[in-house]
Every structure is written in structure tokens, then in C-alpha cells.
Amino acid sequence: MTMATVNETLTTARGNRRKLGRDLAGLSVILGLAVTGYLLFPNNLALLTRMTAIALLVLSLDLVTGYCGVATLGHAALFGTGAYAAGIAAVHFGITDPLLMLACGILGGVVAGLLCGAVILRAHGLPQLVLSIALIHLFHEFANKAASWTGGSDGLAGIAPDPLLGFFAFDLWGRTAYVFGIVLLAVVFTLLRLVVRSPFGMLCRGIKEDPIRIRAMGASPKVTLVKMYMISGAVAGAGGALNAISTQVVGLDSLSFTLSAESLVMLVLGGTGSLFGALTGTIVFMFFEDIVSAANPFHWLTMVGALLIAVVLFAPKGLYGTIAAVAARWREARR
């Protein structure tokens, strides 16, 4: 563990109060943005809901990549499993209550997280990356082959969620789905702030810095990381379930390598190792994608590539990380 982490563990009551303030500030920023989005794009709530679901995926990726240092290009496996779990529960078992579907998605995500964590954490470096890529392809092929359950390449259609809590039906404009998504995101965000700051979260960051020292201290890096993978699976599964409920269809693209790579790009664009960074990256990337791919779909890939190279060269900490560093320096200078 580095000095910084030790220091953070020994934070004073004042520091804790300040963090609580930042939590509330973050929460109010999310809700503020949600209301602004609702007012600015009342006809494009589907995009905003999709953004919320992807934000959950990126948050979940941040837990394992940003906080535990696991390099993975296969994180959509957790998201897609959650989406399919919720969809299959609705189509094949008649569980159409949105909250129960959400629970199914979370459960599916946890199981997928356990599976992926157990496999991916067996290796480090390049083999780890290759394992994660092989896993996402395996999940994709499996979902494609199990067509009687998943609908194969046609996608799983016919998901008809009941009204939320018995009152709020999922309307054509996606208002209910949007509010549902934002509330879900706010709850998850609050819980994750607590998880990340807990002794368990500190342990994960310690493992990222130096796993051998953590083992010498008596903790098991492997077990801790698998637990974190399961939490991450729950978050990604919730995102997948939200996507299934709001779009009422689950496609194979939710289990694709492209989605995994894109979520990693969003995370790094915003800044790893910070929940705010994950949210910033998602919002910026998806708006950018929406505008550019509407204007000229051919140049979309070139633009993403150039954006990635630029971020690596000029803002290695990501957008949020760079802004936060500049703000901290400014505060220091003023003092």
C-alpha cells in the first residue's frame, strides 16, 4: 500500500464530512443533469435512458479496472448477461414486474461476474486481456447458439414489463423508463461511493498498488478481487436489466466485443479510478457519438481512434481526472 492509501485510511472526521458533502454534490449533479436532459431533449429520452444503462456498465468497469487494476476488454459479458437474465425471466417465466426483472438482471450479473472473475483473475497482463476477449466471444457465441432461449441473432423480443409499482406504465415516450433509470443510477452511485470508501474498497486499491504486500498483511487478493467482480457484476447486470426493460428487446450486441471496447474507451476518456470520471466519460462519449454518427457514420471510427490517441497523449488521467488535478492545483495556489 502506498502512503497515499494509508493516509486515506486515516482520514479525520473533517475529511469524512467533506466527502459526504462531495457525495451530496455528486448526487445533486446527477439529478440536475437528469432534469436538464429531460427538459432539453423531451423527444430523445430513449437515448438518455440508454446512456444511463451504459453509465452503469462503465461504473461497473471502473470498479474492476480503475479500483482493482484488472485490464479487461470483455466487460460487456456482465452487462449482456444481466440484460438476457431480465429478458428471459420476462419472456419465458412470465416475471414481468420491473423490479423483479431488475433483481433477475442483478442476479445474472453477479453469476456472470463470479464466472468471469474466476477465469480472468487467473492470469496477469497480456494473457489476462486475451482471456477477457475470449470470454466475451464465448458468451456471444453461446447466446447466439441458445436461440430457443435468447432468440439468437434476431434478438429476444416480446418483453412487456408491467407498470412500475403497479401505477406507472412504461409509456411510448419512455418517461417512466427514464425516471426509473435515473433513480436506479442515483441509488447505485450512492451505494458505490460507500463501497469504494469502505475498508473493502481500500483493500482493493491496495491490491492494485501492490498485491504481494497485501498478501503479506494477511488478506487474500484473489478472494477480494472476485468479490469486487461480483459487485461489479451486480452493477452491470442492473444496467443490462434497465436496457432490457426500457427498450423491451435484448440483442446480441449487448454481449459484443465492440460494446466492451467502447465502455473501456468511455471509462478512460472520463478518467479511471473515479466514479465521477466514469459518468463524465459516458456522457461525453455518447453525446459525441450521437452527433458525429448522425452527421457522418463513416468517420465515426476514425474520430474515436483520434480521440483515444489524443487522450493518451495529452490527458492521460482522463477528462475528469485532468480537470480535478487543475482544480486542486488552483486551490493550492490560492491558499
Partner: protein, 287 residues
């Protein structure tokens, strides 16, 4: 019997093409510790240049091959100077992002310049048709790919094991700082091996164009396969890469022939099993 024979020939040809393309990746990864996801993009550039030279300019296959190899190296040099230099020794995540960014850019540009259609490289008459082996006949092109792979393996083995440059290269792979202290110009070793790696990728892209068709998403589609080969073989090991290519080529081809409805399911299952059992690759050294 006939099926077994065709599977064996196809697997051998496929494995050799994989070998030619990914051996450069394996050497640079063992040498510079760069996770280079853009390697497939260089193979794709080679394929595009050869296709343009042979089909649109009407040059011969051999000349087109040479133009492709040297043209790709020329394109790669500024990329190495400007972008790769910055990520030597950087954390893996940074390298992955940078090289994936380069791959996306190359795909986008290739799509813009050459269009989204498949590009073919017309074969010379000598490589069309098939060769009679007495009991069976095999496509001449497959045979050519296999021979290319064997030739590349032999030349590389000789260059690395028997020449002065090979000694310096192995020293730099084992301990770059120590080799530099002993007077090896590691910068030059790096630059030369990068150029050779890119050239080999282009060669593989051209020779293997019949098996791995050249189109804009080539770089992304086969990126995983090349990485898997290197990871299974162990970075920096020629025998390891050769064994991994033949093994994975065999599994993939057999899977396609025998259970085509499962696609690449068995390929990825085998990859996960091998990487889990040998986390450092088949010929990986313990560090």
C-alpha cells in the same frame, strides 16, 4: 480420410499464415513489452497495397509483394516515431488504448480510401490450380503459404540464433538496461525489429489474403486471433509461436469443418483452457 487430409492441409496453411503475421508481434512484444493491438492493421495495410499494385496498376505478384512489404514499413516508421515511442514502458492499459486508437484510425481511413468492399489480390498463373502429390492434390496457393511460413521460421531462427544482430536482440530481450550498459544500441535494435515485425505482418497479410480476406474490419476481426497466438505461444518465443499457430490453426479449422454451426465456440474455449493452464504461454519463461 479425405476430410482428415483436407483439414490437415487447411490447418497447416492457416497456421502458417497466422505464424508469419504474428511472429513479428511476438518478437516486438517480448522485446519492447508493448501490447500492440494495431499489428493486424499493418497486415491489412500490406494487403491493401498489394491489391492496389497488382489489380489496379497491373504489376506482377512478386513486385506487388515487395511494394506491400516496404510500403507498409514506410507507413509504420512515422507511426512508431511519433506514437509508439511515447508508450514504451507505459502501463498496459495505456498501451491498449493507444494501439486500439491507432487501429480504429487505420480502419476508418482504409474504409474511406478503399471503400468497404473485399479486395482481392490476383494470383499469378503459377500459384493457381493445384499440385498433384501422387495420392492427393492440394491447392498450389496453400502450398505456397506453407512454404512461406517455413521459410520465415527458418530465416528468423538463423537470424536470431546465429548472427551478431541476433545476439544483441536476445540480450535486449533478456535485460534491456544491462544490454545498453554493455554497448548494445538498443534504440537501433528496437527500430530494426519493429520494421521487420511490420514487414512480416505485411507479408503475411498478402500471402494469407486467400484465407483471411482483406477488408476494412480485418484489423479488428483478426486482432484477437493474433493476440491469442502470441499469448498462447509465449511472447518472444519462435518455437512457442509456431506450436501455438499450428495448434490453434488446427483447432479452428477442425471446428469449422466438423461442427460449422458452432463457429468459433471451440476455438475460444480452447484458448481459455490453454491460457488458464499455461498463464505464461506454452514456451513462456518464468520471470
Amino acid at each position: 480420410m479425405q476430410t482428415v487430409f483436407s483439414i490437415a492441409v487447411d490447418a497447416l496453411a492457416y497456421g502458417m499464415v497466422l505464424f508469419v503475421i504474428s511472429i513479428g508481434l511476438s518478437v516486438t512484444m517480448g522485446l519492447m513489452r508493448v501490447v500492440n493491438l494495431a499489428h493486424g492493421a499493418f497486415a491489412m495495410i500490406g494487403g491493401y497495397i498489394a491489391s492496389y499494385a497488382a489489380r489496379d496498376m497491373g504489376l506482377g505478384y512478386g513486385i506487388a509483394l515487395m511494394i506491400a512489404v516496404f510500403g507498409t514499413i514506410l507507413i509504420a516508421i512515422p507511426i512508431e516515431r511519433l506514437l509508439y515511442r511515447r508508450i514504451y514502458g507505459a502501463p498496459e492499459l495505456t498501451q491498449v488504448l493507444m494501439t486500439i486508437g491507432i487501429t480504429f484510425c487505420i480502419i476508418g481511413i482504409a474504409n474511406y480510401v478503399f471503400g468497404p468492399t473485399l479486395k482481392t489480390i490476383p494470383l499469378p498463373t503459377g500459384l493457381q490450380g493445384s499440385v498433384d502429390l501422387g495420392f492427393r492434390s492440394i491447392a498450389t496457393h496453400r502450398l505456397f503459404a506453407i512454404l512461406c511460413g517455413l521459410a520465415v521460421a527458418a530465416v528468423l531462427w538463423y537470424a536470431i540464433e546465429k548472427t551478431a544482430f541476433g545476439v544483441k536482440l536476445r540480450a535486449a530481450v533478456d535485460n534491456a538496461a544491462m544490454a545498453a550498459a554493455l554497448g548494445v544500441r538498443t534504440e537501433i535494435v528496437y527500430a530494426v525489429s519493429f520494421a521487420v515485425a511490420v514487414g512480416l505482418a505485411a507479408l503475411g497479410g498478402v500471402v494469407g489474403a486467400e484465407l483471411l480476406p482483406v477488408e476494412p474490419y480485418y484489423a479488428l476481426r483478426y486482432m484477437v486471433t493474433f493476440l491469442v497466438v502470441v499469448s498462447v505461444g509465449g511472447a518472444g518465443s519462435i518455437p512457442g509461436a509456431l506450436v501455438a499457430c499450428l495448434l490453434l490453426g488446427g483447432i479452428d479449422t477442425a471446428g469449422r469443418y466438423l461442427v460449422p454451426e458452432f463457429g468459433e465456440f471451440f476455438f475460444y474455449l480452447a484458448v481459455i483452457a490453454i491460457v488458464c493452464v499455461f498463464p505464461r504461454g506454452l514456451a513462456g519463461r518464468t520471470r
